[in-house]
Assembly symmetry: C2
């Protein structure tokens, strides 16, 4: 499924969908961050995805991380809530245009080894000082930079 991220783009299609999703910033004992390379657009990203009926948003984050990385984690905190109406995500296969609604958790590594999936062509533990070298969508870059800055309060936006 092709995915295009639009930001503050007057030519973007209008949003027609709102799906709460979770992303997870998992760190291991060495302080490395778990990242995937997205199959749909080649960008590096935190694992995550849309919430299903019947699960909580925390359970969604743990489930999506396991599916996309092979790693089991435990949520430890909240990096922020990101619901900027200027960020739209277009799925080219079915015409869905989602307005961003992403809850980003921090989490600790529990078990498992980085393992690619249909949604993640690569999965890697990345040293914090190498994060800047990886290509990311601007919205994902903003989340990672917020974590690097170590804010006291979760981002609320």
């Amino acid at each position: 499924m092709g995915r295009i991220d639009h930001y503050d783009d007057p030519a973007a299609p209008r949003p027609n969908s709102l799906v709460p999703s979770a992303n997870v910033l998992v760190t291991n004992d060495q302080g490395q961050v778990l990242l995937i390379r997205r199959s749909d657009n080649g960008n590096w990203a935190l694992p995550g995805g849309g919430m299903d009926l019947g699960e909580s948003i925390v359970a969604c984050g743990v489930r999506e991380t396991l599916e996309e990385t092979g790693v089991t984690c435990q949520v430890t905190g909240l990096l922020g809530i990101f619901t900027d109406p200027k960020h739209l995500i277009e799925y080219t296969s079915n015409g869905e245009v989602r307005q961003e609604f992403s809850v980003v958790f921090t989490a600790a590594y529990i078990s498992g080894r980085p393992t690619p999936s249909s949604e993640s062509s690569q999965v890697r533990w990345v040293d914090p000082d190498q994060l800047a070298d990886l290509r990311m969508d601007r919205s994902m870059r903003m989340r990672v930079d917020l974590w690097l800055q170590g804010a006291d309060m979760p981002h609320l936006g």
Copy 2:
């Protein structure tokens, strides 16, 4: 519109909808909490409601508070994220059954006077020691009690 809250009820209808909503715990200079009495079920509650496309979840909380109470507020923090799949909200008029997805902010009073609306038959500033006397749905009681307990971390569930 009639509203029924189901909790961990095997006889409840199955969820068919997920609408992110914001609730806001607004306090004034006297430390009182802004509450509404819901028109649909007579329970006391924090103001709030479902997010619209084109706004952020923070803007949703401020807008719903103004609509339901006549009070303008500014969000100052996060009480928690509440997405318990065991809590379902049934709207009897159209068969919609939402799974709970509520982001609860704390906020400071800015301006305006408590004013009822079609969704709120009463609007009141309530002293913290009077909160226990008001009838609330269990999920709303849990949010208010969490605030009274003054936890350091937002609730993530």
